[in-house]
Amino acid sequence: MNIAGLLLLAISFATTAIVSFGGILVMVPEIHRQAVEIYGWVNDAEFASSFAVSQMAPGPNIMLMSLIGWRAFGTVGLLVATLAIVAPPGILAIVIGRMEVKFAASKYLRMVRETLPPIVIGLMMASGFITAKIAVDGFVGIVIAAGVAIVVAVTKQNPLISILIAIAVGVGAGRLGYLT
Protein backbone atom coordinates (compact mmCIF):
# COMPACT_ATOMS: atom_id res chain seq x y z
CA MET A 1 0.00 0.00 0.00
CA ASN A 2 1.27 3.45 -0.90
CA ILE A 3 1.02 5.15 2.50
CA ALA A 4 2.83 8.33 1.46
CA GLY A 5 0.59 8.73 -1.60
CA LEU A 6 -2.56 8.12 0.43
CA LEU A 7 -1.43 10.66 3.00
CA LEU A 8 -0.88 13.27 0.29
CA LEU A 9 -4.32 12.49 -1.15
CA ALA A 10 -5.92 12.86 2.29
CA ILE A 11 -4.16 16.14 3.04
CA SER A 12 -4.86 17.56 -0.41
CA PHE A 13 -8.58 16.73 -0.36
CA ALA A 14 -9.06 17.66 3.29
CA THR A 15 -7.54 21.11 2.79
CA THR A 16 -9.62 21.63 -0.35
CA ALA A 17 -12.74 20.56 1.54
CA ILE A 18 -12.15 22.94 4.44
CA VAL A 19 -12.11 25.98 2.11
CA SER A 20 -14.86 24.71 -0.20
CA PHE A 21 -17.34 27.50 0.42
CA GLY A 22 -20.11 27.32 -2.12
CA GLY A 23 -20.01 23.54 -2.49
CA ILE A 24 -17.75 21.04 -4.17
CA LEU A 25 -18.61 21.87 -7.78
CA VAL A 26 -16.95 25.28 -7.49
CA MET A 27 -13.82 23.44 -6.32
CA VAL A 28 -13.35 21.72 -9.69
CA PRO A 29 -10.48 24.08 -10.69
CA GLU A 30 -8.66 23.38 -7.42
CA ILE A 31 -9.28 19.63 -7.59
CA HIS A 32 -7.99 19.62 -11.18
CA ARG A 33 -4.96 21.70 -10.21
CA GLN A 34 -3.97 19.24 -7.50
CA ALA A 35 -5.05 15.91 -8.99
CA VAL A 36 -3.82 16.52 -12.55
CA GLU A 37 -1.31 19.35 -12.54
CA ILE A 38 0.55 18.81 -9.25
CA TYR A 39 0.27 15.15 -8.21
CA GLY A 40 -0.69 13.47 -11.47
CA TRP A 41 -3.16 11.06 -9.83
CA VAL A 42 -5.20 11.15 -13.04
CA ASN A 43 -4.65 12.66 -16.49
CA ASP A 44 -6.93 15.15 -18.22
CA ALA A 45 -9.02 12.50 -19.98
CA GLU A 46 -9.46 10.50 -16.75
CA PHE A 47 -10.41 13.67 -14.90
CA ALA A 48 -13.06 14.48 -17.49
CA SER A 49 -14.48 10.95 -17.46
CA SER A 50 -14.44 10.83 -13.64
CA PHE A 51 -16.34 14.09 -13.62
CA ALA A 52 -18.91 12.71 -16.06
CA VAL A 53 -19.29 9.37 -14.25
CA SER A 54 -19.64 11.02 -10.84
CA GLN A 55 -22.42 13.22 -12.22
CA MET A 56 -24.25 10.24 -13.69
CA ALA A 57 -24.16 8.20 -10.48
CA PRO A 58 -26.78 8.91 -7.81
CA GLY A 59 -25.52 10.65 -4.69
CA PRO A 60 -23.60 13.76 -3.74
CA ASN A 61 -21.27 15.66 -6.10
CA ILE A 62 -18.26 15.08 -3.84
CA MET A 63 -17.95 11.66 -5.45
CA LEU A 64 -15.76 13.21 -8.15
CA MET A 65 -13.03 13.20 -5.53
CA SER A 66 -13.93 9.69 -4.35
CA LEU A 67 -13.50 8.45 -7.90
CA ILE A 68 -10.14 10.19 -8.31
CA GLY A 69 -9.05 8.47 -5.10
CA TRP A 70 -10.19 5.15 -6.51
CA ARG A 71 -8.42 5.68 -9.85
CA ALA A 72 -5.17 6.54 -8.07
CA PHE A 73 -5.15 4.08 -5.14
CA GLY A 74 -8.01 1.60 -5.51
CA THR A 75 -10.61 0.85 -2.82
CA VAL A 76 -8.49 2.29 0.01
CA GLY A 77 -8.08 5.46 -2.06
CA LEU A 78 -11.85 5.62 -2.52
CA LEU A 79 -12.47 5.49 1.23
CA VAL A 80 -9.60 7.81 2.18
CA ALA A 81 -10.67 10.40 -0.40
CA THR A 82 -14.32 10.28 0.67
CA LEU A 83 -13.46 10.58 4.35
CA ALA A 84 -11.02 13.43 3.68
CA ILE A 85 -13.77 15.42 1.93
CA VAL A 86 -16.59 14.69 4.37
CA ALA A 87 -14.87 14.77 7.76
CA PRO A 88 -13.23 18.23 8.06
CA PRO A 89 -16.31 20.28 7.10
CA GLY A 90 -18.47 17.70 8.90
CA ILE A 91 -16.66 18.20 12.22
CA LEU A 92 -17.05 21.95 11.80
CA ALA A 93 -20.77 21.46 11.05
CA ILE A 94 -21.21 19.42 14.24
CA VAL A 95 -19.43 22.06 16.34
CA ILE A 96 -21.37 24.95 14.78
CA GLY A 97 -24.61 22.96 14.86
CA ARG A 98 -24.30 22.47 18.60
CA MET A 99 -23.72 26.17 19.27
CA GLU A 100 -26.02 27.41 16.52
CA VAL A 101 -28.16 29.81 18.57
CA LYS A 102 -25.27 31.87 19.88
CA PHE A 103 -23.43 31.72 16.60
CA ALA A 104 -26.36 32.71 14.41
CA ALA A 105 -26.67 35.95 16.32
CA SER A 106 -23.05 36.91 15.96
CA LYS A 107 -22.09 39.89 13.87
CA TYR A 108 -19.22 37.93 12.42
CA LEU A 109 -21.49 35.37 10.83
CA ARG A 110 -23.67 38.01 9.22
CA MET A 111 -20.62 39.69 7.72
CA VAL A 112 -19.31 36.40 6.35
CA ARG A 113 -22.75 35.69 4.92
CA GLU A 114 -22.72 39.04 3.11
CA THR A 115 -19.14 38.71 1.90
CA LEU A 116 -19.25 35.22 0.41
CA PRO A 117 -21.82 35.41 -2.44
CA PRO A 118 -19.77 37.47 -4.95
CA ILE A 119 -16.69 35.33 -4.26
CA VAL A 120 -18.71 32.15 -4.82
CA ILE A 121 -20.03 33.55 -8.12
CA GLY A 122 -16.45 34.14 -9.26
CA LEU A 123 -15.57 30.58 -8.21
CA MET A 124 -18.54 29.19 -10.15
CA MET A 125 -17.43 31.12 -13.24
CA ALA A 126 -13.90 29.77 -12.80
CA SER A 127 -15.30 26.27 -12.40
CA GLY A 128 -17.29 26.55 -15.63
CA PHE A 129 -14.27 28.03 -17.42
CA ILE A 130 -11.83 25.34 -16.30
CA THR A 131 -14.33 22.54 -16.92
CA ALA A 132 -14.93 23.93 -20.40
CA LYS A 133 -11.18 24.05 -21.04
CA ILE A 134 -10.89 20.38 -20.05
CA ALA A 135 -13.77 19.12 -22.17
CA VAL A 136 -14.66 21.54 -24.88
CA ASP A 137 -12.73 21.40 -28.09
CA GLY A 138 -14.59 22.17 -31.23
CA PHE A 139 -17.85 23.67 -32.30
CA VAL A 140 -20.27 21.09 -30.87
CA GLY A 141 -18.80 21.37 -27.38
CA ILE A 142 -19.13 25.15 -27.43
CA VAL A 143 -22.75 24.89 -28.59
CA ILE A 144 -23.57 22.38 -25.83
CA ALA A 145 -21.88 24.40 -23.05
CA ALA A 146 -23.42 27.67 -24.21
CA GLY A 147 -26.84 26.07 -24.72
CA VAL A 148 -26.91 24.52 -21.25
CA ALA A 149 -25.64 27.78 -19.72
CA ILE A 150 -28.49 29.73 -21.33
CA VAL A 151 -31.16 27.17 -20.37
CA VAL A 152 -29.93 27.10 -16.76
CA ALA A 153 -29.70 30.90 -16.56
CA VAL A 154 -33.17 31.66 -17.87
CA THR A 155 -35.31 28.67 -16.80
CA LYS A 156 -35.93 26.70 -13.62
CA GLN A 157 -35.68 23.38 -15.42
CA ASN A 158 -34.00 20.43 -13.66
CA PRO A 159 -30.34 20.53 -14.84
CA LEU A 160 -30.28 16.75 -15.19
CA ILE A 161 -32.61 17.05 -18.20
CA SER A 162 -30.23 19.50 -19.90
CA ILE A 163 -27.31 17.15 -19.27
CA LEU A 164 -29.20 14.17 -20.74
CA ILE A 165 -30.17 16.21 -23.83
CA ALA A 166 -26.54 17.35 -24.12
CA ILE A 167 -25.34 13.73 -24.08
CA ALA A 168 -27.83 12.84 -26.81
CA VAL A 169 -26.63 15.81 -28.87
CA GLY A 170 -22.99 14.79 -28.33
CA VAL A 171 -23.59 11.19 -29.38
CA GLY A 172 -25.71 12.29 -32.34
CA ALA A 173 -23.14 14.84 -33.49
CA GLY A 174 -20.45 12.16 -33.20
CA ARG A 175 -22.45 9.78 -35.39
CA LEU A 176 -22.76 12.55 -37.96
CA GLY A 177 -19.00 13.05 -37.78
CA TYR A 178 -18.85 16.39 -35.99
CA LEU A 179 -17.01 15.45 -32.80
CA THR A 180 -13.64 13.76 -32.70
Binding site: A52, T115, P118, L123, M125
Partner: protein
Protein backbone atom coordinates in the same frame (compact mmCIF):
# COMPACT_ATOMS: atom_id res chain seq x y z
CA UNK B 1 -31.01 38.40 16.13
CA UNK B 2 -34.77 38.18 16.36
CA UNK B 3 -35.15 34.40 16.45
CA UNK B 4 -35.59 33.26 20.03
CA UNK B 5 -34.24 29.97 21.29
CA UNK B 6 -37.49 28.01 21.30
CA UNK B 7 -37.87 28.71 17.57
CA UNK B 8 -34.41 27.30 16.93
CA UNK B 9 -35.13 23.87 18.41
CA UNK B 10 -34.39 21.79 15.34
CA UNK B 11 -35.45 18.22 15.96
CA UNK B 12 -35.47 16.54 19.34
CA UNK B 13 -32.64 14.42 20.70
CA UNK B 14 -33.42 10.70 20.39
CA UNK B 15 -36.51 11.39 18.29
CA UNK B 16 -35.19 9.30 15.38
CA UNK B 17 -33.21 6.07 15.92
CA UNK B 18 -29.84 5.24 14.34
CA UNK B 19 -31.43 2.52 12.22
CA UNK B 20 -34.03 4.95 10.93
CA UNK B 21 -31.31 7.49 10.15
CA UNK B 22 -29.36 4.82 8.27
CA UNK B 23 -32.38 3.75 6.21
CA UNK B 24 -33.67 7.27 5.61
CA UNK B 25 -30.34 8.60 4.40
CA UNK B 26 -29.83 5.47 2.31
CA UNK B 27 -33.00 6.46 0.46
CA UNK B 28 -31.62 9.97 -0.02
CA UNK B 29 -28.44 8.56 -1.57
CA UNK B 30 -30.32 6.21 -3.88
CA UNK B 31 -32.78 8.74 -5.30
CA UNK B 32 -30.42 11.74 -5.38
CA UNK B 33 -29.43 12.12 -9.00
CA UNK B 34 -27.45 15.22 -9.96
CA UNK B 35 -26.74 16.11 -6.33
CA UNK B 36 -28.75 15.16 -3.25
CA UNK B 37 -30.23 18.50 -2.14
CA UNK B 38 -33.74 17.87 -3.49
CA UNK B 39 -33.80 14.24 -2.35
CA UNK B 40 -32.71 15.29 1.13
CA UNK B 41 -35.58 17.75 1.50
CA UNK B 42 -38.02 15.20 0.11
CA UNK B 43 -37.04 12.44 2.56
CA UNK B 44 -36.34 14.48 5.71
CA UNK B 45 -39.29 16.89 5.47
CA UNK B 46 -41.93 15.45 3.16
CA UNK B 47 -41.65 11.70 3.60
CA UNK B 48 -40.25 11.05 7.09
CA UNK B 49 -41.34 14.38 8.64
CA UNK B 50 -38.22 14.42 10.84
CA UNK B 51 -38.10 18.21 10.56
CA UNK B 52 -40.54 20.91 9.51
CA UNK B 53 -39.75 22.86 6.36
CA UNK B 54 -38.72 25.85 8.50
CA UNK B 55 -36.37 23.79 10.66
CA UNK B 56 -34.87 22.24 7.56
CA UNK B 57 -34.39 25.58 5.83
CA UNK B 58 -32.71 27.00 8.92
CA UNK B 59 -30.32 24.04 9.15
CA UNK B 60 -29.60 24.10 5.43
CA UNK B 61 -28.95 27.85 5.53
CA UNK B 62 -26.44 27.32 8.31
CA UNK B 63 -24.77 24.48 6.38
CA UNK B 64 -24.54 26.64 3.26
CA UNK B 65 -22.23 29.18 4.81
CA UNK B 66 -19.94 26.45 6.12
CA UNK B 67 -17.29 24.93 3.86
CA UNK B 68 -18.08 21.57 2.27
CA UNK B 69 -21.12 20.23 0.46
CA UNK B 70 -24.20 21.87 2.01
CA UNK B 71 -26.49 18.81 1.74
CA UNK B 72 -23.89 16.60 3.45
CA UNK B 73 -23.31 19.14 6.22
CA UNK B 74 -27.08 19.42 6.65
CA UNK B 75 -27.35 15.63 6.93
CA UNK B 76 -24.57 15.61 9.52
CA UNK B 77 -26.19 18.37 11.59
CA UNK B 78 -29.59 16.62 11.51
CA UNK B 79 -28.12 13.23 12.47
CA UNK B 80 -26.05 14.80 15.26
CA UNK B 81 -29.17 16.46 16.64
CA UNK B 82 -31.01 13.14 16.88
CA UNK B 83 -28.31 10.63 17.83
CA UNK B 84 -24.97 12.40 18.29
CA UNK B 85 -21.83 11.04 16.65
CA UNK B 86 -23.27 7.52 16.28
CA UNK B 87 -26.14 9.04 14.34
CA UNK B 88 -23.70 10.90 12.10
CA UNK B 89 -21.85 7.68 11.30
CA UNK B 90 -25.14 5.88 10.51
CA UNK B 91 -26.47 8.75 8.38
CA UNK B 92 -23.30 9.29 6.34
CA UNK B 93 -22.73 5.55 5.97
CA UNK B 94 -26.29 5.16 4.72
CA UNK B 95 -26.05 8.21 2.50
CA UNK B 96 -22.84 7.17 0.77
CA UNK B 97 -22.86 3.36 0.57
CA UNK B 98 -25.18 2.90 -2.41
CA UNK B 99 -23.82 5.89 -4.38
CA UNK B 100 -20.19 4.81 -3.90
CA UNK B 101 -20.93 1.26 -5.05
CA UNK B 102 -22.87 2.54 -8.09
CA UNK B 103 -20.04 4.99 -8.78
CA UNK B 104 -17.44 2.23 -9.01
CA UNK B 105 -19.74 0.00 -11.08
CA UNK B 106 -20.40 2.87 -13.48
CA UNK B 107 -16.67 3.63 -13.66
CA UNK B 108 -15.91 -0.02 -14.48
CA UNK B 109 -18.61 -0.06 -17.16
CA UNK B 110 -17.24 3.20 -18.52
CA UNK B 111 -13.68 1.85 -18.64
CA UNK B 112 -14.90 -1.23 -20.48
CA UNK B 113 -16.73 0.74 -23.16
CA UNK B 114 -14.60 3.90 -23.29
CA UNK B 115 -13.12 2.93 -26.66
CA UNK B 116 -16.52 3.23 -28.33
CA UNK B 117 -16.88 6.63 -30.01
CA UNK B 118 -20.46 7.05 -28.71
CA UNK B 119 -19.32 6.65 -25.10
CA UNK B 120 -16.44 9.05 -25.60
CA UNK B 121 -18.65 11.65 -27.30
CA UNK B 122 -21.37 11.30 -24.68
CA UNK B 123 -18.81 11.83 -21.92
CA UNK B 124 -17.29 14.89 -23.55
CA UNK B 125 -20.79 16.28 -24.11
CA UNK B 126 -21.81 15.72 -20.48
CA UNK B 127 -18.69 17.49 -19.20
CA UNK B 128 -19.33 20.36 -21.63
CA UNK B 129 -22.89 20.46 -20.25
CA UNK B 130 -21.53 20.55 -16.68
CA UNK B 131 -19.36 23.52 -17.68
CA UNK B 132 -22.47 25.22 -19.03
CA UNK B 133 -24.30 24.37 -15.82
CA UNK B 134 -21.68 26.14 -13.69
CA UNK B 135 -21.62 29.17 -16.00
CA UNK B 136 -25.41 29.38 -16.24
CA UNK B 137 -25.83 29.09 -12.46
CA UNK B 138 -23.21 31.81 -11.96
CA UNK B 139 -24.99 34.13 -14.42
CA UNK B 140 -28.35 33.49 -12.76
CA UNK B 141 -26.94 34.15 -9.29
CA UNK B 142 -25.07 37.27 -10.53
CA UNK B 143 -28.32 39.05 -11.25
CA UNK B 144 -29.33 38.57 -7.63
CA UNK B 145 -26.01 39.17 -5.91
CA UNK B 146 -23.87 41.58 -7.91
CA UNK B 147 -25.72 44.82 -7.22
CA UNK B 148 -22.86 47.29 -6.82
CA UNK B 149 -19.29 47.93 -7.96
CA UNK B 150 -17.48 46.27 -5.02
CA UNK B 151 -19.44 43.01 -5.42
CA UNK B 152 -18.75 42.97 -9.17
CA UNK B 153 -15.03 43.56 -8.54
CA UNK B 154 -14.98 40.80 -5.91
CA UNK B 155 -16.54 38.33 -8.35
CA UNK B 156 -14.07 39.26 -11.08
CA UNK B 157 -11.13 39.00 -8.66
CA UNK B 158 -12.20 35.56 -7.45
CA UNK B 159 -12.72 34.35 -11.06
CA UNK B 160 -9.31 35.63 -12.13
CA UNK B 161 -7.50 34.25 -9.08
CA UNK B 162 -8.83 30.72 -9.50
CA UNK B 163 -9.76 30.47 -13.18
CA UNK B 164 -6.93 32.41 -14.84
CA UNK B 165 -3.99 32.61 -12.46
CA UNK B 166 -4.68 29.22 -10.85
CA UNK B 167 -3.73 30.48 -7.39
CA UNK B 168 -4.07 27.73 -4.75
CA UNK B 169 -7.49 27.86 -3.11
CA UNK B 170 -6.45 28.47 0.51
CA UNK B 171 -4.37 31.66 0.03
CA UNK B 172 -6.85 32.86 -2.62
CA UNK B 173 -9.85 32.36 -0.32
CA UNK B 174 -8.09 33.98 2.64
CA UNK B 175 -7.12 37.02 0.59
CA UNK B 176 -10.57 37.37 -0.99
CA UNK B 177 -12.34 37.02 2.35
CA UNK B 178 -9.98 39.59 3.91
CA UNK B 179 -10.69 42.09 1.14
CA UNK B 180 -14.43 41.36 1.16
CA UNK B 181 -14.73 41.67 4.93
CA UNK B 182 -12.78 44.94 5.01
CA UNK B 183 -15.00 46.35 2.25
CA UNK B 184 -18.15 45.52 4.19
CA UNK B 185 -16.57 46.72 7.46
CA UNK B 186 -15.30 50.07 6.18
CA UNK B 187 -18.20 50.46 3.79
CA UNK B 188 -20.59 50.37 6.72
CA UNK B 189 -18.70 52.77 9.02
CA UNK B 190 -18.62 55.52 6.38
Amino acid sequence: MKSDNSEFQVGRSGHVSCLNLLLGFMTVGMIGFGGIANALFHVVVEKKKWLTAEEYTMTFGMAQILPGAAPINTSIMIADRFQGLAGVVCAIGGLLCVPLISLIMLALVYDHFSDFPDVHNGTVASVAAAAGLSLGTAVKASLRVLHNVPTILMAIASFAAIGIFRIPMIPAMLALMAVGLSISYFGRSE
